[in-house]
């Protein structure tokens, strides 16, 4: 190979290296595990889940016309325990405002979740549902908990909060939906992926 070709080969590799590095640099500060939920803007996946204590199942489409706040939780998840009070108080505050709160137990047996709710407390109007086989969690694309989905009056997923949330964020998101805005996806903290590490 002659030296001219080699010279350009060397410079070419250097240039490719720089381009590659610039692309890598553009990834700084982004969370590599974070995936934008493809459900945003799409019709919310339907479900028909029984309350944790058993009884009549609740179907999502029966709540059409309400803003639905769908939260996945478990007692083994510290972030879920931390946000629980805020979910309860927000549910209470919006009780008569056409907002339904649903909390779905994620990878936990109903008795364990019920035990937890006895000490953690529950909101009168919130529906606490069991999800056998994680079907609903899979349908919503849960990567870890807590994750909270927001479904508007027309049954469209318009928002998602990943990580521990609080009353202000929840309330502001509901307010935005009621104003007709799309809050989109927001990451507020870390999530727990499974009870067994």
């Amino acid at each position: 190979m002659n030296s001219k070709a080699l010279r350009w080969t060397g410079l070419g590799i250097a240039a490719i290296g720089v381009i590659f590095a610039v692309v890598l640099a553009s990834r700084f500060g982004t969370n590599p595990g974070l995936v934008d939920s493809p459900l945003l803007g799409e019709p919310a996946p339907q479900f028909n889940l029984s309350p944790l204590e058993g009884g009549e199942p609740v179907a999502l489409d029966s709540l059409q016309g309400d803003v639905v706040v769908l939260n996945f939780f478990a007692s083994w998840c510290p972030e879920c325990r931390a946000e629980h009070d805020d979910l309860v108080s927000t549910a209470n505050a919006f009780e008569d405002q056409g907002v339904t709160f649903i909390q779905v137990a994620y990878q936990e047996s109903p008795p364990a979740s019920l035990d937890y709710l006895v000490t953690a407390g529950r909101a009168e109007s919130t529906l606490y549902l069991a999800d056998p086989g994680s079907r609903t969690a899979i349908a919503y694309g849960v990567f870890g908990i807590p994750e909270t989905y927001f479904i508007d009056e027309t049954g469209t997923v318009v928002g998602k909060i990943i990580g521990e949330t609080d009353a202000l964020t929840l309330g502001a998101t509901i307010d935005a939906i009621k104003r007709g805005e799309d809050p989109g996806q927001k990451v507020t903290g870390s999530t727990q992926q499974s009870p067994d590490g």
Binding site: M1, N2, F28, G29, V35, D36, S37, P38, L39, E42, P45, E79, E83, D85, D86, V88, S89, T90, N92, A93, F94, Q97, Q107, G133, S134, R135, A137, I138, A139, Y140, G141, V142, F143, G144, G163, E164, T165, D166, A167, L168, T169, L170, G171, A172, I174, D175, A176, K178, V187, T188, G189, S190, Q193, S194, P195, D196
Partner: protein
């Protein structure tokens, strides 16, 4: 070719054909569920497929895949269903189309280029420079290494400065009292309920109470003002505001002069220069005709405040004039 070689070539060919035939009759006992399981990433694991991972979520997904296979869904349908909720990141086996087409093509391109380079290189013998031919060694080492060293130093220093840019994700802020304009009363109620014990909640409480107060919803405002007035965490200006509002509501709502004056006095005990407390106490004393002299002196004390805004000052001055003229309050 020698005879032995020929014999071996025939034997090799026959055996190879037999081997290929035997291998082609192999039927994999991995079923569709297992195959799909290998191609889908477990969303709660890192890099493992749902077929490999012992995580509960992975096994639930395998159960779903297995059920959909039993229901007669095609591989593509099952994958598409999962993509609808999880996006392309859960695919371990990227399709040779769309944005991942290049991924499959690139290795082939590199292979072809590599073969091309070897062939081209073989056809173009290079000028063979012998090592010994090289005469004087160029002394260009120092500038290059100096450049490298200083660049390294710059990189390290830059890295040092960059480090503070994105601090750890601290999760949700407990209470954010900025930008409350867009938040509904219900949201604020929820935030306050959830953070009742938080030392910084008084600001939000006061803001919410002020909203109720402005629209005349005294019954909603009252408990929040009361909380702020009684809270040990509230700052002095917050407590003064709350006490003044409570005093005014006692007068406006229920015409309770003593209660109102008591609350204003509490506020003045915290801050004896509070213009609103002085002015409103004067107003109450004047309007209830309880103590006109005291009212006049209170108005006078308000006007002593050099920081008083001019329009407020004119209001207070006109009120003082009216009072001195013996008029009833307006």
């Amino acid at each position: 070719m020698s005879n032995t070689n020929r014999l071996f070539a025939v034997a090799i060919a026959v055996m190879a054909v037999a081997l290929v035939f035997l291998m082609s009759t192999f039927e994999s006992d991995t079923d569709r569920v297992e195959q799909l399981g290998q191609a889908i990433k477990c969303p709660v694991c890192q890099g493992e497929s749902i077929g490999d991972s012992p995580a509960q979520m992975a096994r639930d997904m395998m159960a779903l895949v297995s059920q959909r296979v039993d229901e007669g869904a095609s591989d593509q349908e099952i994958v598409d269903e999962l993509l609808a909720s999880y996006s392309g990141a859960v695919l371990l086996d990227p399709p040779a189309s769309g944005s991942t087409l290049l991924l499959w093509l690139a290795p082939a391109v590199v292979l072809v280029v590599g073969v091309g380079v070897i062939l081209w290189w073989r056809r173009n013998p290079t000028e063979a420079t012998q090592p010994e031919v090289k005469e004087e060694k160029p002394r260009k080492l120092a500038p290059i290494l100096f450049l490298a060293g200083s660049l390294a130093a710059i990189v390290v220093v830059a890295g040092f400065f960059v480090q503070d840019r994105d601090g750890p994700n601290t999760g949700a802020a407990a209470i954010d009292t900025d930008n409350l304009e867009e938040v509904s009363n219900e949201t604020m109620e929820a935030v306050i309920a959830a953070n009742a014990d938080h030392p910084e909640v008084s600001g939000m409480r006061l803001a919410l109470a002020e909203r109720y107060f402005e629209v005349g919803d005294f019954s909603s405002a009252f408990p929040h003002y009361l909380e702020v007035a009684q809270s040990p965490d509230a700052s002095d200006p917050q407590a003064v505001t709350a006490l003044v509002r409570l005093g005014w509501m006692a007068w406006e709502g229920n015409r309770e002069v003593d209660a109102a004056v008591g609350l204003f006095d509490e506020a003045l005990a915290i801050d004896d220069t509070s213009a609103t407390a002085l002015f409103l106490k004067g107003q109450v004393l004047w309007c209830s005709a309880t103590d006109l002299d005291e009212a006049a002196s209170l108005f006078g004390r308000v006007l002593e405040d050099p920081t008083l805004e001019s329009d407020t000052r004119s209001v207070v001055e006109s009120d003082l004039d009216a009072l001195n003229a013996g008029a009833a309050c307006t």
